[in-house]
């Protein structure tokens, strides 16, 4: 004699779980498709979705430098960069990020990320092909909050000379449309 399924084992619950899972997944996908810069009280979080450049469409790998650069459009022209420490030949974003350093480019004249020598201790991680930078450097966060740039420029560079430049709107925690996460 079979007993009717109860709790999460019932069809209704399974269906609901499926819906929730699909919803969460689609939200995650949606989140991945958009670059984001969010400025909170004590930190700046930057999510960079990998563009479909050579990284994803590679035929023959080249030895060279990968870099991400975020021009913060503050008054002093500050930028941060994730730049590889050495030339590498890979198409794995995790490997690239692992072999790279987060640096601060305090001057607009540090146009080359390799010249940006001020290393930041903040974290960079890769999840679902999204590079996430969490800046907790108080001076940098203060600077951004003070200058309130409406948008930043994010650029990604590949060893073959391809690059892509995107303009990303900055969301401040005190913006009217800011959504608390």
């Amino acid at each position: 004699m079979s007993t009717p399924a109860r709790g999460w084992q019932s069809t209704g619950w399974r269906f609901l779980a499926l819906i929730l899972l699909a919803g969460a997944q689609s939200e995650r996908i949606a989140a991945q498709e958009t670059n984001q810069v969010t400025v909170d009280n004590d930190r700046v979080e930057i999510a960079l979705v990998q563009p479909k450049l050579r990284i994803r469409q590679n035929r023959s790998l080249q030895n060279g430098f990968y870099a991400w650069r975020i021009d913060l459009r503050t008054k002093d022209g500050s930028a941060i960069a994730i730049a590889a420490d050495t030339a590498m030949r890979t198409d794995n974003i995790r490997d690239i990020v692992r072999g790279s350093t987060l640096r601060r480019c305090p001057d607009a004249h540090d146009f080359s990320s390799l010249r940006c020598s001020t290393r930041l201790a903040d974290s960079v991680s890769v999840r679902n092909d999204v590079v996430r930078i969490v800046l907790r450097d108080s001076s940098l966060v203060r600077l951004i909050r003070a200058d309130r740039p409406p948008a930043v420029w994010a650029s990604v560079f590949e060893p073959n000379g391809r690059f892509r430049v995107d303009r990303i709107r900055v969301r401040f925690d005190d913006d009217e449309d800011h959504v608390l996460r």
Partner: protein
């Protein structure tokens, strides 16, 4: 028609640049640990794999050596072992070349990132610039108008020019119609839609041909100048360490020009120590950028001499410049056959034969160098140069039209829209997308490829420099297969009348010059030259004189009796930087030296303008040629014309019959002939014939005595009864049953 084709030109760094695919250059390569390995687990596997790889490498090397040594005789083996001992004892340093090559790869990799980052900074400034341009009051309308050019969809064949009527809100723009071409790629759906600069953006952009930063607003230029200076410092250091590196030298030259450091760019090109052909190309480019056509031409000549036949074949490829319908004819030629044909093509494309140096050919080489410099990285400030991203369309665009004067950007949303279009058609994103706009004062000096095989039969209509309206403004509804901007404005002179009259040791050639173009109607006289040329190396001045602006002149002189290209070339003097030209191929008749004793001949008839009352036909002489009608199209004002011809070998006492006949020569269809037989249709061919016998004291003629006497004759012809049509004017003479005829095709206009 198939998509556009582009030519892959081998650059000095092709195949080797910073790819580093051949590192390390030993047998151990396959054992090298690469992070790309699917089994790569860096933290755990790295030490283990490194040790294993090193051991395997050493074992493989020793085994290889042992096999080699075992294969040689004992004496040789001893020598090898001894040599090995010495080498190991003294210590064998790695080959210097290998080390420097490895360094070179690292330096290249760093430079690629630096250049890319600079280009990204430039792109940011340019996008800000373009965003602000279209924030002006009529900016949105301007942006909308240009959107069709940004959204360039290759739905039409490459040969198809598209005529577009713009329906914008701007009155001036709306009244102007534009034509543009689609330049498509082979490997993507990316296409470029070049057109004329049809409305100045606000604030106006400067012509980018005169400097890269001209595309930026003034406020961004200083910043870009500083950044580029830093980039140039890096390039300078790299050039010092690797003086023979053509890629580095090329990028230095490129960015020095972008920096407007002309002297620096020229010095960099002069000090180039890379491959000889590439250095010569850079020198030519550097000269051409400051309008030094002759030194540029010399440098490009040296470049061609230093190239391998394959390199030269690719570099000189002119396929992109031809009408798509003619490209197959070009492609069917072998590289060897192309050399002569392309040389003729450029000779025929020379804007002015009288001016030393071929500005158009130099421009072609400049465009090739420009493409090589911009495609040295996959991407430049705005455009992608690899085929998969539509780079072949970009190459084609630059080769056909040069670098655009202005490129408008549609903005992020238009970029996203167009990327969607491309991606749904399996083509990758290639943003930012722009218009490609060119100043309208450009000319198309190239002849059709068909004319290249028979240059001396090319009529004046083979060249269409640029059609202008009555104000001297080029038509925007015209869009050629290629064009370029000459240093001075060049306009087409109207098709005139040419006469070729036999002389003892050559041919007297006479050509009319009508300076009626709106830009030539007023001002100081023009310096006009009648030139004859059989190839690029042989250009002779037949006649030269000043002709008043807005008037007609006749140029005369003696040329050899051989096929030649005849050109009337008027150069503006004083402040007038406008030149005019007309050109055609001619096959002159033989000289009188070839006329056998007792043989007679007649020249083709020449039309004379009788509006000048001083013209006297009673006592005809060679001076009548100064009254040549400036056209063979007889309009209502010229229904009464003079006809001049010469007889050869007819003395004053010879009795000859002269006939002058004007007739249409329309080919009658079979139905028409049947209708005429049945009296149902009339003969559309009309003719007027006059005949008389000489000598006749009532008819004026004169004789120039000589071994072969030259008879000069002229009559008045009234064509007022003729219907507008095309006719053949024939002059025939008959002596003792021998008839000779001279002909000229004329048109009677309404």
């Amino acid at each position: 028609m198939g998509p556009a084709t582009s030519v892959q030109v081998e650059t000095p760094w092709a195949g080797e640049r910073w790819h580093a695919d051949d590192f390390p250059p030993t047998a151990c390569r396959q054992l090298t640990i690469r992070p790309t390995s699917p089994h790569y687990r860096p933290l755990v596997a790295l030490p283990v794999r490194a040790l294993a790889s090193a051991a395997a490498c050493v074992w493989s090397g020793l085994r290889q050596w042992w096999m080699t040594i075992r294969s040689v005789p004992t004496a040789g083996r001893s020598a090898i072992v001894a040599a090995l001992f010495v080498v190991l004892t003294l210590g064998l340093a790695p080959p210097a070349g290998a080390q420097s090559r490895k360094d070179s790869v690292t330096v290249h990799a760093r430079l690629v990132l630096s250049i890319s980052e600079f280009q990204a900074a430039w792109q940011r400034a340019w996008r800000e610039t373009e965003t602000r341009r279209f924030e002006s009051p009529n900016g949105e309308a301007q942006r909308r108008l240009r959107s069709i050019l940004v959204h360039c969809h290759p739905t039409e064949a490459d040969s198809q020019f598209i005529r577009t009527f713009w329906h914008g809100s701007d009155e001036i723009v709306r009244q102007r119609n534009f034509q543009f071409a689609q330049v498509t790629g082979r490997n993507s759906m990316f296409a470029a839609c070049p057109t004329w600069l049809f409305a100045d953006p606000n604030p106006p952009a400067q012509d980018e041909r005169f400097g890269r930063d001209a595309a930026l607003l003034e406020e961004f230029r200083v910043g870009m100048h500083s950044l580029r200076a830093l980039l140039l410092t890096e390039l300078d250091v790299a050039a010092e360490n690797f003086p023979g590196d053509g890629w580095i030298t090329g990028q230095r030259v490129r960015f020095l020009f972008d920096q407007n450091d002309i002297a620096g760019a020229q010095a960099a090109a002069r000090s180039c120590k890379a491959e000889r052909w590439w250095c010569a190309a850079l020198r030519g480019y550097a000269h051409a950028r400051i309008n030094e056509v002759l030194p540029a031409e010399a440098a490009f000549r040296e470049m061609q001499q230093a190239m391998t036949p394959q390199q030269r074949c690719a570099w000189d490829d002119v396929r992109d410049l031809l009408d798509p319908a003619e490209r197959n004819a070009y492609s069917s030629l072998s590289c060897a056959a192309r050399v002569a044909a392309v040389a003729r093509f450029w000779w025929m494309s020379d804007p002015l034969l009288r001016v030393a140096g071929n500005e158009r050919q130099v421009e072609h080489n400049v465009r090739r160098v420009e493409v090589a410099l911009h495609s040295a990285l996959e991407q430049d400030e705005r455009y992608t140069w690899t085929d998969r991203f539509g780079g072949d369309a970009m190459v084609s665009l630059v080769m056909r039209y040069g670098w655009p004067g202005y490129t408008a950007w549609g903005g992020d949303s238009i970029d996203d829209d167009h990327t969607d279009y491309l991606e749904t058609r399996s083509s990758p994103r290639s943003s930012p997308y722009t218009t490609f706009e060119y100043s309208i004062d450009r000319v198309h000096t190239l002849p059709p490829w068909a004319a290249v095989s028979a240059p001396f039969l090319a009529p004046e209509s083979s060249w269409s420099l640029s059609p202008d309206d009555q104000l001297g403004q080029p038509y925007t509804e015209w869009w050629p297969d290629e064009h370029f901007r000459s240093r001075r404005r060049l306009v087409q002179l109207p098709e005139g009348q040419q006469a070729m009259l036999r002389r003892e040791n050559g041919v007297r050639v006479a050509a009319t010059v009508l300076l009626s173009h709106p830009l030539l109607r007023q001002g100081p006289p023009l310096d006009v030259m009648l030139v004859s040329s059989t190839d690029a190396a042989n250009v002779d001045t037949v006649a030269r004189r000043g002709i008043r602006a807005g008037t007609v002149g006749v140029m005369q002189g003696i040329i050899p009796s051989a096929p030649t290209m005849l050109g009337v070339e008027a150069v503006g003097t004083g402040n007038r930087a406008v030149d005019g030209r007309a050109r055609l191929g001619i096959v002159p008749p033989p000289s009188l030296a070839d006329l056998k004793t007792g043989e007679i001949a007649v020249s083709d008839p020449v039309l004379l303008d009788l509006q000048n009352e001083a013209v006297n036909l009673d006592k005809p002489s060679e001076e009548l040629l100064d009254q040549m009608l400036n056209t063979v199209n007889v309009d209502r004002r010229h229904r009464r014309i003079g006809v001049y011809w010469e007889t050869y070998g007819v003395s004053a006492t010879d009795t000859i019959t002269v006939s002058v006949r004007v007739a249409t020569d329309e080919q009658l269809s079979a139905m028409r002939r049947l209708g005429m037989r049945l009296n149902l249709a009339g003969n559309p061919n009309r003719e007027v014939v006059q005949s008389w016998t000489l000598p006749d004291p009532q008819r004026g003629s004169s004789i120039i005595p000589g071994r072969v006497p030259i008879g000069i004759n002229a009559i008045v012809l009234n064509l007022s009864q003729l219907q507008p049509d095309t006719y053949v004017l024939e002059v025939s003479i008959e002596r003792a049953g021998s008839v000779v005829t001279g002909r000229r095709r004329i048109t009677v206009d309404r």
